[in-house]
Amino acid sequence: MQKIIAWIDDRFPLTKVWNEHLAQYYAPKNFNFWYYFGSLALLVLVNQIVTGIFLTMNYKPDAALAFGSVQYIMYDVSWGWLIRYMHSVGASMFFIIIYLHMFRGLIYGSHKQPRELIWIFGTLIFVALMAEAFMGYLLPWGNMSYWGAQVIISLFTAIPVIGNGLAQWVRGDYVVSDATLNRFFAFHVIALPLVLVALVFVHLVALHKVGSNNPDGVEIKKKKDEKGIPLDGIPFHPYYTVKDIVGVTVFLMVFAAVIFFAPTLGGKFLEHDNFIPANILSTPLDIVPLWYFTPFYSMLRASTTDFTHGMLAIFTMLVAMLAFFTQRGFRAKFLSVAIAGVLLLGMYTLEAKLWGVILMGSSIVLIFFLPWLDRSPVKSIRYRGPLFKGAVIIFVLSFILLGYLGTKSPAAVDLFWFKNVLWAQGFTLLYLAFFVLMPWYTMIDKTKPVPERVTLK
């Protein structure tokens, strides 16, 4: 064994990589529950790739055959149903994990200096993952697949001048068709997985360059012993490998429970309208994307003319005023007025549906800027003040409720007093305000002193 390793080490840095990234990679010893989700995301990524390979062995990317080939997998292929459920439930699990993983970053200030690039790579992963899920959802060629893709691609038509051409270019046809299915297949099975794997790789390279943050937001590298090992660090292997096995097992129990006992989760993970083949003549009663897109879908539908001329315009003016009075220097003051002016002009001249697309886009783009929007001197929520804590609670509630409203008809009343669309408009503004107002509330927030060393509860 030793000989083999020595032989390899002469030709490939096996021991070196092992030590640098596992056996002598020091991670803070105070990781909690929230730190399981990174390794779980890796696990689910592998699950999607492996089950995806097996699905591809029997799937046919052809508008005439796709639906039948998926049913062939469900009915005739040995263990085909298991593979398919692992893949479809896996997709939903991926989003649950990623949302929790991102939330962890947010509350412990993991996006802050020096981890901005980890955060940016992470957000790119999130965008790639959404594209991956969207394209994958077309492949079974069910009726909801079809109309979901139809609706989302038609969003491009809201863009002035080039919109129609762009939508056609994406589809490769005037409507979603065989051409669309084929290119989505190409993206889903090879292009985007490559991008995802590459992004995950650089995400982890960046992480290992600066080291993990932790629930206290204390930089463990600031306090080292005489050998240069962080006092609060423990080797990733074996400590966190054995700990992650526990996390993985608990996750697998949840995963298995869904796969074996409720694989469609009552239509949440696999929609009922997807059990009939795509039909251009029959539109589902309500076109609803899968749950992980519904918060963004809500924002899209919230944008009506009343909203852009009213609430959104007022919100923009208020933020501009805040910027105007708090910024020092002529240039900054001028800029805040100019930007608000351009936005307001747009709100009164461009179509509301275009603003829906812009708002949805902004809700994701803003995530990239989090490291610079957050002006708090401390990282972890444990040592932050009530303003940040309150903002996080409001943000999370808005996100969840937007998700809920995204599954409902905008004109109905499912919460109380007001129609869904009005609630969605309010929560959209709260979502945006969380980011846009962050520089102010994090700056004036009262913080507590951060301890020198990490704490163990």
Binding site: K243, F275, I276, T304, P410
Partner: protein
Amino acid sequence: MNKIILSLLLGLLPIVSHAEQGLKLDHVRIDLSDQASLQRGARIFVNYCLSCHNAAYLRYNRMGHDLGISNQLVKQDLLFATNKIGDRMRAAMPAADAKKWFGVAPPDLTLEARYRGPDWIYTYMHSFYRDPKSFSGWNNTVFPHVAMPFVLYGWQGEQRAVFRNVKLVSHVMENGKAVTEVTEERVFSHFVLAKPGTMTPKQYDLAIRDLTNFMVYMGEPAKLERIRIGVYVLIFLAVFLVLAILLKKEYWKDVH
């Protein structure tokens, strides 16, 4: 096309369909472990439905195997449309002919229970009524203007539907504004059995329960196996979890 899709998306068209609103489905108890019921359902399905509808994702021998019917019996009693037991369950009538006769091709029913749900099928099969205005002479409260003739009318008999007028409240989006509309509509009240069939209502109900049960099986033949395996997987993982926790505790003893 794009304009329609986009307005659909942004809710400019009425979202709540009126017909769908007043309707309540009856609940049916599904029991996939009741093989006798599944066998009776299969017999009804093959004899009365497979003449028009496909159930093409399922094969005869798979069905026989799952339902505990020997290949011999499947061949004898259930194989009409083909003589190969490994074949998919296809309709006797070619889809093109059916389309010519009914105006719509009868859809494949393999996944019907997963698409509409068992309650829908169960209620649908109870809700055919005589309607001289319709092309086939039949109409259905669950599926208004359905093109399917009521093939089991000899069993159930002929129903007449009684309607009443009610006020309906619906929420629609108009020009980007949410508007509440109140309209008066004729909605279904109840059925009267005008001409009894060969079965009593109770017998008919049982037959439809068996049929629905079978259609649920058909929608996912692996369901029982799935649940059975799931139990073992969870037991295994639970044991593994205990070991994993003990291992973690052992390693972490010296971390303070």
